[in-house]
Protein backbone atom coordinates (compact mmCIF):
# COMPACT_ATOMS: atom_id res chain seq x y z
CA UNK A 1 0.00 0.00 0.00
CA UNK A 2 1.26 3.41 -0.90
CA UNK A 3 2.02 5.57 2.06
CA UNK A 4 -0.27 8.50 2.79
CA UNK A 5 0.75 11.77 1.30
CA UNK A 6 0.54 15.40 2.26
CA UNK A 7 0.58 18.47 0.08
CA UNK A 8 1.97 21.70 1.49
CA UNK A 9 0.96 24.24 -1.14
CA UNK A 10 1.89 27.92 -0.91
CA UNK A 11 -0.76 29.18 -3.33
CA UNK A 12 -4.47 28.52 -3.83
CA UNK A 13 -3.69 27.31 -7.35
CA UNK A 14 -1.31 24.68 -5.98
CA UNK A 15 -3.90 23.65 -3.41
CA UNK A 16 -6.55 23.14 -6.10
CA UNK A 17 -4.05 21.18 -8.21
CA UNK A 18 -3.26 18.97 -5.26
CA UNK A 19 -6.96 18.31 -4.61
CA UNK A 20 -7.52 17.46 -8.27
CA UNK A 21 -4.55 15.15 -8.32
CA UNK A 22 -5.58 13.06 -5.33
CA UNK A 23 -9.32 12.38 -5.14
CA UNK A 24 -10.30 11.86 -1.53
CA UNK A 25 -7.66 14.27 -0.26
CA UNK A 26 -8.85 16.26 2.72
CA UNK A 27 -8.33 19.98 3.07
CA UNK A 28 -6.76 21.02 6.35
CA UNK A 29 -7.01 24.60 7.58
CA UNK A 30 -6.60 25.33 11.30
CA UNK A 31 -7.16 21.71 12.29
CA UNK A 32 -9.31 22.48 15.31
CA UNK A 33 -12.10 20.20 14.07
CA UNK A 34 -10.27 18.02 11.55
CA UNK A 35 -7.50 16.89 13.90
CA UNK A 36 -9.96 15.98 16.65
CA UNK A 37 -11.69 13.61 14.23
CA UNK A 38 -8.37 12.10 13.19
CA UNK A 39 -7.23 11.79 16.82
CA UNK A 40 -10.43 9.97 17.68
CA UNK A 41 -10.17 7.61 14.73
CA UNK A 42 -13.20 9.03 12.94
CA UNK A 43 -11.20 9.92 9.85
CA UNK A 44 -8.27 8.23 8.16
CA UNK A 45 -7.47 10.55 5.29
CA UNK A 46 -5.50 8.98 2.42
CA UNK A 47 -4.07 12.39 1.63
CA UNK A 48 -4.15 15.84 3.16
CA UNK A 49 -3.78 19.25 1.56
CA UNK A 50 -2.65 21.62 4.30
CA UNK A 51 -3.44 25.29 3.75
CA UNK A 52 -1.35 26.84 6.52
CA UNK A 53 1.34 28.07 4.09
CA UNK A 54 -1.04 29.74 1.65
CA UNK A 55 -0.37 33.36 2.51
CA UNK A 56 -2.87 34.71 -0.04
CA UNK A 57 -5.67 33.23 2.09
CA UNK A 58 -4.52 35.04 5.21
CA UNK A 59 -5.43 38.57 4.29
CA UNK A 60 -8.20 41.09 4.60
CA UNK A 61 -9.15 44.22 2.77
CA UNK A 62 -11.33 47.04 4.03
CA UNK A 63 -12.78 49.39 1.44
CA UNK A 64 -15.41 52.11 1.93
CA UNK A 65 -18.10 49.73 0.66
CA UNK A 66 -17.05 46.25 1.71
CA UNK A 67 -14.82 44.03 3.78
CA UNK A 68 -13.03 41.10 2.18
CA UNK A 69 -11.73 38.48 4.59
CA UNK A 70 -9.41 35.74 3.42
CA UNK A 71 -10.40 32.23 4.39
CA UNK A 72 -7.12 31.70 6.27
CA UNK A 73 -7.82 34.57 8.65
CA UNK A 74 -7.67 33.18 12.17
CA UNK A 75 -10.04 33.98 15.02
CA UNK A 76 -7.12 35.77 16.69
CA UNK A 77 -6.72 37.90 13.55
CA UNK A 78 -10.44 38.75 13.54
CA UNK A 79 -10.26 39.98 17.12
CA UNK A 80 -6.86 41.64 16.98
CA UNK A 81 -6.73 43.69 13.79
CA UNK A 82 -8.53 46.54 12.04
CA UNK A 83 -11.25 43.97 11.36
CA UNK A 84 -12.42 44.35 14.94
CA UNK A 85 -13.21 48.02 14.27
CA UNK A 86 -15.16 47.48 11.04
CA UNK A 87 -16.83 44.21 12.06
CA UNK A 88 -17.08 44.41 15.86
CA UNK A 89 -19.60 41.56 16.04
CA UNK A 90 -17.24 39.30 14.12
CA UNK A 91 -14.47 40.19 16.54
CA UNK A 92 -16.78 39.53 19.48
CA UNK A 93 -17.79 36.17 18.02
CA UNK A 94 -14.18 35.25 17.32
CA UNK A 95 -13.23 36.08 20.88
CA UNK A 96 -15.75 33.55 22.20
CA UNK A 97 -14.20 30.72 20.19
CA UNK A 98 -12.31 28.16 22.29
CA UNK A 99 -9.15 29.40 23.95
CA UNK A 100 -6.19 31.49 22.80
CA UNK A 101 -4.59 28.29 21.46
CA UNK A 102 -7.70 27.51 19.41
CA UNK A 103 -8.12 31.09 18.22
CA UNK A 104 -4.52 31.09 16.99
CA UNK A 105 -5.24 28.06 14.82
CA UNK A 106 -8.87 28.07 13.69
CA UNK A 107 -9.82 29.99 10.56
CA UNK A 108 -12.83 31.68 8.99
CA UNK A 109 -12.70 29.35 5.99
CA UNK A 110 -12.63 26.37 8.30
CA UNK A 111 -15.64 27.64 10.22
CA UNK A 112 -17.61 27.91 6.97
CA UNK A 113 -16.49 24.61 5.46
CA UNK A 114 -17.09 22.70 8.69
CA UNK A 115 -20.62 24.15 8.66
CA UNK A 116 -21.42 23.34 12.26
CA UNK A 117 -24.74 24.84 13.39
CA UNK A 118 -22.71 26.24 16.28
CA UNK A 119 -20.07 27.89 14.07
CA UNK A 120 -19.50 31.17 15.88
CA UNK A 121 -18.80 33.39 12.87
CA UNK A 122 -21.82 32.19 10.93
CA UNK A 123 -24.63 34.22 12.58
CA UNK A 124 -22.92 37.50 11.71
CA UNK A 125 -22.09 36.32 8.19
CA UNK A 126 -25.74 35.33 7.76
CA UNK A 127 -26.94 38.68 9.10
CA UNK A 128 -24.74 40.52 6.61
CA UNK A 129 -25.64 38.30 3.63
CA UNK A 130 -22.01 37.33 3.25
CA UNK A 131 -20.86 36.04 -0.11
CA UNK A 132 -18.30 33.27 -0.19
CA UNK A 133 -15.83 32.77 -3.01
CA UNK A 134 -14.63 29.25 -3.84
CA UNK A 135 -11.91 28.28 -6.26
CA UNK A 136 -11.74 24.99 -8.09
CA UNK A 137 -10.22 23.58 -11.26
CA UNK A 138 -12.79 25.43 -13.39
CA UNK A 139 -12.12 28.77 -11.73
CA UNK A 140 -13.90 30.81 -9.11
CA UNK A 141 -17.53 31.05 -8.14
CA UNK A 142 -19.16 33.21 -5.51
CA UNK A 143 -22.28 32.15 -3.61
CA UNK A 144 -24.30 33.55 -0.73
CA UNK A 145 -23.51 31.86 2.58
CA UNK A 146 -27.01 30.37 2.54
CA UNK A 147 -26.17 28.42 -0.60
CA UNK A 148 -22.85 27.23 0.81
CA UNK A 149 -24.05 25.88 4.15
CA UNK A 150 -26.84 23.49 3.21
CA UNK A 151 -27.34 21.52 6.42
CA UNK A 152 -25.71 20.26 9.59
CA UNK A 153 -22.04 19.97 8.62
CA UNK A 154 -22.92 19.79 4.95
CA UNK A 155 -22.02 22.28 2.25
CA UNK A 156 -22.20 22.75 -1.49
CA UNK A 157 -18.41 23.07 -1.64
CA UNK A 158 -17.08 20.53 -4.15
CA UNK A 159 -14.30 18.17 -3.04
CA UNK A 160 -11.84 19.95 -5.32
CA UNK A 161 -12.78 23.48 -4.22
CA UNK A 162 -11.07 25.74 -1.70
CA UNK A 163 -12.82 28.53 0.23
CA UNK A 164 -10.91 31.62 -0.79
CA UNK A 165 -12.59 34.58 0.84
CA UNK A 166 -15.73 36.10 2.28
CA UNK A 167 -17.14 39.47 1.28
CA UNK A 168 -19.61 41.51 3.31
CA UNK A 169 -20.97 44.99 2.74
CA UNK A 170 -19.92 47.55 5.30
CA UNK A 171 -22.62 48.84 7.60
CA UNK A 172 -22.42 51.95 9.73
CA UNK A 173 -23.73 51.43 13.22
CA UNK A 174 -23.39 49.30 16.32
CA UNK A 175 -23.12 45.50 16.21
CA UNK A 176 -23.32 42.87 18.91
CA UNK A 177 -22.74 39.14 19.20
CA UNK A 178 -23.93 37.13 22.18
CA UNK A 179 -23.67 33.43 22.91
CA UNK A 180 -24.96 31.12 25.60
CA UNK A 181 -22.95 28.18 26.88
CA UNK A 182 -21.86 26.52 30.07
CA UNK A 183 -18.88 28.78 30.71
CA UNK A 184 -17.25 31.82 29.17
CA UNK A 185 -14.35 30.03 27.50
CA UNK A 186 -13.98 26.81 25.55
CA UNK A 187 -17.66 26.54 24.97
CA UNK A 188 -19.74 25.44 22.01
CA UNK A 189 -22.79 27.67 21.63
CA UNK A 190 -26.15 26.46 22.86
CA UNK A 191 -27.62 29.50 21.17
CA UNK A 192 -26.03 32.57 19.63
CA UNK A 193 -27.17 35.77 17.97
CA UNK A 194 -25.55 38.56 15.97
CA UNK A 195 -27.33 41.89 15.66
CA UNK A 196 -26.30 44.60 13.21
CA UNK A 197 -27.90 48.05 13.37
CA UNK A 198 -27.51 50.04 10.15
CA UNK A 199 -27.89 53.72 10.96
CA UNK A 200 -27.89 54.75 7.31
CA UNK A 201 -30.29 52.20 5.82
CA UNK A 202 -32.41 52.33 8.99
CA UNK A 203 -32.51 48.60 9.28
CA UNK A 204 -31.64 45.89 11.78
CA UNK A 205 -30.14 42.57 10.72
CA UNK A 206 -30.22 39.48 12.90
CA UNK A 207 -28.40 36.17 12.44
CA UNK A 208 -28.96 33.21 14.75
CA UNK A 209 -26.74 30.22 15.49
CA UNK A 210 -27.23 26.79 17.09
CA UNK A 211 -31.01 27.05 16.83
CA UNK A 212 -31.47 25.47 13.38
CA UNK A 213 -29.52 23.13 11.07
CA UNK A 214 -28.02 26.18 9.37
CA UNK A 215 -27.46 29.80 10.42
CA UNK A 216 -30.72 31.73 9.98
CA UNK A 217 -31.76 35.31 9.43
CA UNK A 218 -34.69 36.40 11.58
CA UNK A 219 -36.24 38.46 8.80
CA UNK A 220 -39.66 39.03 10.36
CA UNK A 221 -38.05 40.22 13.56
CA UNK A 222 -35.80 42.49 11.48
CA UNK A 223 -38.73 44.05 9.59
CA UNK A 224 -40.78 44.51 12.74
CA UNK A 225 -38.05 46.27 14.66
CA UNK A 226 -36.84 48.25 11.65
CA UNK A 227 -40.31 49.80 11.44
CA UNK A 228 -40.73 50.15 15.21
CA UNK A 229 -37.48 51.99 15.90
CA UNK A 230 -37.53 55.79 15.98
CA UNK A 231 -34.38 56.28 13.91
CA UNK A 232 -34.27 60.03 14.30
CA UNK A 233 -34.64 60.23 18.07
CA UNK A 234 -32.07 62.36 19.85
CA UNK A 235 -29.46 60.22 21.54
CA UNK A 236 -29.69 57.50 18.91
CA UNK A 237 -32.26 55.07 17.61
CA UNK A 238 -34.91 54.35 20.16
CA UNK A 239 -37.24 51.39 20.63
CA UNK A 240 -40.11 50.88 23.03
CA UNK A 241 -40.15 48.05 25.53
CA UNK A 242 -43.13 46.55 23.75
CA UNK A 243 -41.37 46.65 20.39
CA UNK A 244 -38.31 44.98 21.89
CA UNK A 245 -40.45 42.28 23.48
CA UNK A 246 -42.18 41.61 20.17
CA UNK A 247 -38.76 41.50 18.51
CA UNK A 248 -37.75 38.72 20.91
CA UNK A 249 -40.89 36.74 20.16
CA UNK A 250 -40.31 36.97 16.42
CA UNK A 251 -36.69 35.89 16.87
CA UNK A 252 -37.96 32.86 18.75
CA UNK A 253 -40.33 32.06 15.87
CA UNK A 254 -37.44 32.18 13.40
CA UNK A 255 -35.61 29.48 15.34
CA UNK A 256 -36.19 25.76 14.78
CA UNK A 257 -34.06 24.25 17.51
CA UNK A 258 -33.63 20.62 18.49
CA UNK A 259 -33.01 18.85 21.78
CA UNK A 260 -29.60 17.19 21.98
CA UNK A 261 -26.85 16.43 24.48
CA UNK A 262 -26.08 20.13 24.95
CA UNK A 263 -29.54 21.53 25.56
CA UNK A 264 -33.25 21.28 24.91
CA UNK A 265 -35.20 22.82 22.09
CA UNK A 266 -37.27 24.79 24.61
CA UNK A 267 -34.24 26.29 26.31
CA UNK A 268 -32.59 27.16 23.02
CA UNK A 269 -35.69 28.94 21.73
CA UNK A 270 -36.00 30.89 24.98
CA UNK A 271 -32.29 31.70 25.19
CA UNK A 272 -32.00 32.93 21.63
CA UNK A 273 -34.90 35.35 22.18
CA UNK A 274 -33.27 36.73 25.30
CA UNK A 275 -29.81 37.17 23.82
CA UNK A 276 -31.06 38.63 20.55
CA UNK A 277 -33.14 41.17 22.43
CA UNK A 278 -30.27 41.91 24.80
CA UNK A 279 -27.89 42.34 21.88
CA UNK A 280 -30.31 44.80 20.28
CA UNK A 281 -30.78 46.68 23.55
CA UNK A 282 -27.03 47.24 23.62
CA UNK A 283 -27.30 48.87 20.18
CA UNK A 284 -30.32 51.14 20.65
CA UNK A 285 -31.90 53.27 23.33
CA UNK A 286 -34.71 51.60 25.20
CA UNK A 287 -37.63 53.97 25.59
CA UNK A 288 -39.38 54.09 28.93
Amino acid sequence: MRAARVALPTTVEEAVEALTEAPGAQLLAGGTDFCVEVNFGLRRPPAVVALRRVQELRRYEVTPASVVIGAGTTYADMGGTELSAVLPALAAAARTVGSPQIRNSGTLGGNIATASPAGDTLPLLAALDARVTLRGPAGERTLPLGEIVTGVKTTSIAPDEVVVEVVVERRTGPQQFLKVGTRNAMVIAIASAAVVVDLEAHEVRVGLGSVAPVPVRATEAEMHIGDAIDWRATGGPRASAAALARFGELVGQAASPITDHRSTAEYRRHAVQVIARRALERCVVRAA
Binding site: V6, A7, P9, R52
Partner: protein
Protein backbone atom coordinates in the same frame (compact mmCIF):
# COMPACT_ATOMS: atom_id res chain seq x y z
CA UNK B 1 5.56 34.98 11.68
CA UNK B 2 4.36 33.07 8.63
CA UNK B 3 5.59 29.56 8.16
CA UNK B 4 8.30 29.15 5.56
CA UNK B 5 7.60 27.41 2.33
CA UNK B 6 7.73 23.65 2.04
CA UNK B 7 11.25 23.60 0.60
CA UNK B 8 12.34 21.30 3.40
CA UNK B 9 9.46 18.98 2.70
CA UNK B 10 10.27 18.75 -0.95
CA UNK B 11 13.83 17.77 -0.33
CA UNK B 12 12.85 14.90 1.93
CA UNK B 13 10.57 11.94 2.03
CA UNK B 14 11.54 10.24 -1.22
CA UNK B 15 9.89 10.81 -4.54
CA UNK B 16 6.81 12.95 -4.47
CA UNK B 17 3.91 11.81 -6.58
CA UNK B 18 3.20 15.25 -7.93
CA UNK B 19 4.64 18.69 -7.69
CA UNK B 20 2.79 19.43 -4.50
CA UNK B 21 2.81 16.13 -2.65
CA UNK B 22 5.39 14.64 -0.34
CA UNK B 23 5.29 11.30 1.44
CA UNK B 24 4.11 11.69 4.99
CA UNK B 25 6.09 8.80 6.46
CA UNK B 26 9.50 10.42 6.59
CA UNK B 27 10.10 14.09 7.11
CA UNK B 28 12.14 16.62 8.99
CA UNK B 29 10.99 19.05 11.68
CA UNK B 30 12.75 21.94 13.35
CA UNK B 31 12.18 21.38 17.06
CA UNK B 32 13.78 23.57 19.70
CA UNK B 33 16.24 24.83 17.13
CA UNK B 34 17.37 21.34 16.10
CA UNK B 35 16.58 19.49 12.88
CA UNK B 36 14.93 16.20 13.77
CA UNK B 37 13.97 13.41 11.39
CA UNK B 38 10.63 11.71 11.86
CA UNK B 39 10.55 8.19 10.46
CA UNK B 40 7.90 5.52 9.88
CA UNK B 41 5.22 8.09 10.59
CA UNK B 42 1.55 7.98 9.67
CA UNK B 43 -0.09 10.96 8.05
CA UNK B 44 -2.68 11.34 10.79
CA UNK B 45 -0.20 11.61 13.66
CA UNK B 46 -0.53 14.83 15.59
CA UNK B 47 2.46 16.97 16.33
CA UNK B 48 1.91 16.01 19.96
CA UNK B 49 2.22 12.32 19.14
CA UNK B 50 5.30 12.93 17.02
CA UNK B 51 6.98 14.96 19.76
CA UNK B 52 6.23 12.44 22.48
CA UNK B 53 6.44 9.09 20.75
CA UNK B 54 8.85 9.68 17.89
CA UNK B 55 11.18 12.42 19.08
CA UNK B 56 11.43 11.57 22.78
CA UNK B 57 10.00 14.87 24.02
CA UNK B 58 7.33 13.92 26.58
CA UNK B 59 7.12 17.36 28.23
CA UNK B 60 4.03 18.27 26.22
CA UNK B 61 1.33 16.20 27.87
CA UNK B 62 -1.31 14.14 26.14
CA UNK B 63 -4.67 14.42 27.84
CA UNK B 64 -7.78 15.33 25.87
CA UNK B 65 -6.55 15.13 22.25
CA UNK B 66 -9.24 17.64 21.30
CA UNK B 67 -7.82 21.02 22.17
CA UNK B 68 -9.84 21.36 25.37
CA UNK B 69 -7.17 21.11 28.04
CA UNK B 70 -4.04 22.95 26.86
CA UNK B 71 -1.68 20.35 28.36
CA UNK B 72 0.08 20.03 25.01
CA UNK B 73 0.63 23.76 24.44
CA UNK B 74 3.67 24.47 22.26
CA UNK B 75 4.87 27.42 20.22
CA UNK B 76 4.55 27.01 16.47
CA UNK B 77 6.35 29.85 14.70
CA UNK B 78 6.14 31.74 18.01
CA UNK B 79 2.36 31.30 18.32
CA UNK B 80 0.91 29.22 21.15
CA UNK B 81 -1.18 26.31 19.87
CA UNK B 82 -2.34 22.89 21.00
CA UNK B 83 0.11 20.34 19.55
CA UNK B 84 -2.71 17.79 19.45
CA UNK B 85 -4.50 19.91 16.83
CA UNK B 86 -1.53 20.23 14.49
CA UNK B 87 -0.66 17.41 12.14
CA UNK B 88 2.99 16.48 12.54
CA UNK B 89 3.53 16.87 8.80
CA UNK B 90 1.91 20.31 8.89
CA UNK B 91 4.73 21.52 11.12
CA UNK B 92 7.26 20.94 8.34
CA UNK B 93 9.16 24.16 7.70
CA UNK B 94 7.97 25.76 10.94
CA UNK B 95 9.77 26.38 14.20
CA UNK B 96 8.42 24.20 17.00
CA UNK B 97 9.30 25.16 20.57
CA UNK B 98 8.34 22.81 23.37
CA UNK B 99 8.56 23.20 27.12
CA UNK B 100 11.82 21.24 26.97
CA UNK B 101 13.41 23.79 24.65
CA UNK B 102 12.12 26.75 26.63
CA UNK B 103 13.38 25.16 29.84
CA UNK B 104 16.83 24.41 28.44
CA UNK B 105 17.18 28.03 27.33
CA UNK B 106 16.15 29.23 30.79
CA UNK B 107 13.34 31.28 29.25
CA UNK B 108 10.76 29.83 31.57
CA UNK B 109 12.81 29.22 34.73
CA UNK B 110 11.13 32.06 36.59
CA UNK B 111 7.68 30.80 35.65
CA UNK B 112 8.52 27.28 36.73
CA UNK B 113 9.92 28.52 40.06
CA UNK B 114 6.91 30.77 40.51
CA UNK B 115 4.52 27.87 40.03
CA UNK B 116 6.40 25.76 42.56
CA UNK B 117 6.75 28.55 45.12
CA UNK B 118 3.10 29.60 44.90
CA UNK B 119 1.86 26.03 45.25
CA UNK B 120 0.60 26.04 41.68
CA UNK B 121 1.88 22.52 41.08
CA UNK B 122 0.01 19.60 42.60
CA UNK B 123 -0.23 16.54 40.39
CA UNK B 124 1.78 18.48 37.82
CA UNK B 125 0.20 17.07 34.70
CA UNK B 126 -1.09 20.42 33.45
CA UNK B 127 2.04 22.32 34.51
CA UNK B 128 4.08 22.16 31.26
CA UNK B 129 1.10 23.51 29.32
CA UNK B 130 0.66 26.33 31.82
CA UNK B 131 4.38 27.12 31.65
CA UNK B 132 4.18 27.54 27.89
CA UNK B 133 0.93 29.54 28.04
CA UNK B 134 2.19 31.86 30.78
CA UNK B 135 5.46 32.35 28.90
CA UNK B 136 3.54 33.22 25.75
CA UNK B 137 1.38 35.72 27.64
CA UNK B 138 4.14 37.48 29.56
CA UNK B 139 6.48 37.93 26.62
CA UNK B 140 3.66 39.62 24.68
CA UNK B 141 2.00 41.40 27.60
CA UNK B 142 4.37 41.61 30.56
CA UNK B 143 1.93 43.70 32.60
CA UNK B 144 -1.22 41.72 31.73
CA UNK B 145 -3.95 42.46 34.26
CA UNK B 146 -5.99 39.85 36.10
CA UNK B 147 -8.65 39.56 33.38
CA UNK B 148 -6.06 39.26 30.63
CA UNK B 149 -4.23 36.55 32.59
CA UNK B 150 -7.45 34.63 33.13
CA UNK B 151 -8.35 34.89 29.47
CA UNK B 152 -4.87 33.83 28.37
CA UNK B 153 -5.04 30.77 30.60
CA UNK B 154 -8.66 29.90 29.85
CA UNK B 155 -7.59 27.09 27.55
CA UNK B 156 -5.44 25.36 30.16
CA UNK B 157 -7.28 23.10 32.57
CA UNK B 158 -6.07 22.21 36.06
CA UNK B 159 -8.13 19.83 38.15
CA UNK B 160 -6.05 20.15 41.33
CA UNK B 161 -5.31 23.71 42.26
CA UNK B 162 -8.53 25.58 41.59
CA UNK B 163 -6.33 28.05 39.66
CA UNK B 164 -5.84 30.49 42.55
CA UNK B 165 -2.24 29.44 43.12
CA UNK B 166 -1.49 29.41 39.42
CA UNK B 167 -2.77 32.97 39.10
CA UNK B 168 -0.70 33.88 42.16
CA UNK B 169 2.37 32.38 40.46
CA UNK B 170 1.81 34.63 37.43
CA UNK B 171 1.53 37.66 39.71
CA UNK B 172 4.78 36.72 41.47
CA UNK B 173 6.62 36.44 38.16
CA UNK B 174 5.22 39.79 37.05
CA UNK B 175 6.27 41.41 40.35
CA UNK B 176 9.76 39.98 40.28
CA UNK B 177 10.27 41.05 36.68
CA UNK B 178 8.99 44.54 37.44
CA UNK B 179 11.46 44.79 40.31
CA UNK B 180 14.38 43.56 38.21
CA UNK B 181 13.36 46.00 35.47
CA UNK B 182 13.52 48.84 37.97
CA UNK B 183 16.82 47.76 39.45
CA UNK B 184 18.94 47.30 36.38
CA UNK B 185 16.89 49.08 33.75
CA UNK B 186 18.10 46.80 30.99
CA UNK B 187 17.97 43.04 31.03
CA UNK B 188 14.63 42.98 32.76
CA UNK B 189 13.50 39.58 31.67
CA UNK B 190 10.09 40.68 30.46
CA UNK B 191 10.31 38.13 27.73
CA UNK B 192 12.60 36.71 25.13
CA UNK B 193 12.35 39.74 22.94
CA UNK B 194 10.23 38.21 20.21
Amino acid sequence: MPPEGPATARSLGGPADGPAYVQADRYELLVNGTRRTVEDAWLGESLLYVLRERLGLPGSKNACEQGECGSCSVLLDSVVVCACLVLGVDAIGSQVETVEGLSADGDVAEIQAGLVDAGGVQCGFCTPGFVVAVHDLLRRTPLADEMAVREALSGNLCRCTGYGRILEAVRRVQRSRAVSDDSDGSDGGTGDGE
